[in-house]
Amino acid sequence: MSLKCEATFVAILREKARKMMRAMELFSGEMDEQVSSMAMDVDDVDPLEIFAEGVIAADNKLADADFFNSFQDDFDDSDIN
């Protein structure tokens, strides 16, 4: 097996082991609600914070602000009857 393949394999094993430990924590009875047998790993860390490439822009700037939203207000039921 090449060194890169070995590193990938080890990283996969490490991730799976981390998930198993996390699943064992969930099943130890600390949580009150019933968990699924296929427990999803729900973390406190915002996934976007892991994948963010740079500094997050100022909170008051809206992305895609130019999207089309000029529809006639068609939801007034008092027009009917």
Binding site: A7, A17, M38, D64
Partner: protein, 423 residues
């Protein structure tokens, strides 16, 4: 030989089988830039091609002929040509140049909007998205444009037809935002409020690194539809919502949150006063109609509450308790609610008495069993899909390299890999 004539010959000669088409695709990519400089001659070239046989070549030339802004007169000429192409083109051929196909369809959308005839784009875009999709789970950039035209043309039922597909593949995040937002509006128009809530919820909770304008507008409608559907709203967003949305969405939707607070008091006069004071803000957002539905829903909510206390009640008493203007108005509300399945009751018009009944559903008919069974099957299929997606992501090198940097809690010495071997 003139380059354009040579290209025409190649299109006509290389459109019959897949290996020829791959060669043709390469030729067309190389000629793409020069095509745009020949825009005045392209219409004549198109007339010598069959859109169903020479779809790939036709697509490249059509796309090159549609660059730049157009007048209404030009749009009037172009729209039928594009519509005919979309209907006739070969799915296998246009999938060789999906970006070009999307570009042509988006231009069609722009042109039918310029002509103020969005309905002319509805059927062609529906055909186009079905041809572009590799599977029913694939969300294309054309889905949102199709829904946009359905909204403008008020073809809500037509728009509904694509909203029942389960989406698992998305090309661009904005495609999903717009699909869910416009889709939510389609469902509101059809009074399918539960489905609308699901779609709007998807926008609000979708991953985002900056606050998205689509998510802000979706959140406003989400608040209103929550009140209409279930009579309540909570500002707590699920844990998987991005921190950016959790921190900021409320700030952009303050009048709506205050409306929800007022709704929560159960006092119709207070709610109506709040709506009157802030009508301009809601109107600016084109949400005043939906806000009025929120007010109506409070009357319904109050009538529903009566069914939990009384077996019979007069229309006059209902009007008094719920603060309606007259027994006639109370009768109209009760009749509508019976029709919509929101309450079970009969009205005796002789003495103006309403008798509230139990839900007749026994959950033991064949139809109900079939419904429950199909729901179970669907959930099982979704569960399998989720497990498979989780497995795929767990093995994704990009995910592992990012997650590995952040995961400090479980450090197994036995699995420590020297730094130089880290991905």
């Amino acid at each position: 030989m003139d380059p354009l004539e040579a290209l025409l010959a190649q299109i006509q000669g290389l459109s019959s089988n897949s290996s020829d088409l791959n060669r043709l695709d390469t030729v067309l990519k190389q000629a793409d830039y020069s095509l745009r400089s020949e825009s005045t001659r392209l219409a004549a070239i198109l007339s010598q091609l069959d859109p169903s046989i020479h779809s790939l070549g036709y697509l490249y030339i059509l796309e090159a002929s549609m660059t730049g802004s157009v007048t209404k007169t030009q749009a009037e000429t172009a729209v039928p040509i594009v519509t005919r192409f979309i209907g006739a083109c070969s799915t296998e051929q246009i999938r060789l140049a999906p970006d070009k196909f999307v570009s042509v369809c988006k231009r069609l959308k722009d042109q039918v909007m310029l002509l103020e005839a969005p309905i002319r784009g509805v059927a062609p875009l529906f055909t186009a998205l079905r041809k572009l999709q590799v599977s029913a789970e694939h969300l294309t950039p054309l889905h949102s444009d199709f829904l946009l035209l359905c909204l403008l043309a008020k073809c809500y039922k037509t728009g509904l037809s694509i909203l029942d597909d389960d989406v698992f593949e998305v090309d661009q995040p904005l495609d999903l935002f717009l699909y869910c937002y416009y889709g939510g509006m389609i469902c509101i128009g059809q009074k399918r409020f539960q489905k609308a809530l699901e779609l709007l919820h998807n926008v609000v909770t979708a991953p985002m690194s900056t606050v998205n304008a689509v998510a802000v507008e979706a959140y406003k409608k989400y608040i209103l539809v929550s009140l209409i559907r279930s009579g309540q709203f909570s500002t707590n967003l699920p844990k998987y919502t991005s921190s950016v949305a959790q921190r900021n969405l409320k700030n952009f939707c303050q009048p709506y949150i205050e409306l929800a607070d007022s709704y929560g008091t159960g006092k119709i006069a207070e709610l109506e006063a709040y709506v009157k004071t802030n009508a301009e803000k809601f109107e600016l957002d084109n949400n005043l109609g939906l806000v009025k539905q929120v007010v109506s829903s409070m009357y319904k909510r109050n009538i529903q509450r009566l069914t939990q206390t009384y077996l019979t009640l007069s229309l006059q008493d209902i009007a008094n308790i719920v603060q309606l203007n007259s027994p006639k108005e109370a009768e109209m509300h009760v009749l509508q609610m019976i029709q919509d399945g929101e309450i079970y009751a009969t009205i005796n018009q002789k003495d103006g008495m309403v008798r509230f009944l139990e839900d007749p559903e026994q959950y033991k008919t064949c139809e109900m069993i079939e419904h429950i069974d199909s729901s179970i099957q669907r959930i099982m299929a979704l569960s399998r899909k989720l497990s498979s997606t989780d497995e795929q992501i767990s093995c994704d090198p990009l995910y592992l390299s990012k997650a590995g940097r952040e995961r400090q809690r479980y450090d197994f010495d036995d699995f420590d890999v020297p730094q130089k071997f880290n991905i």
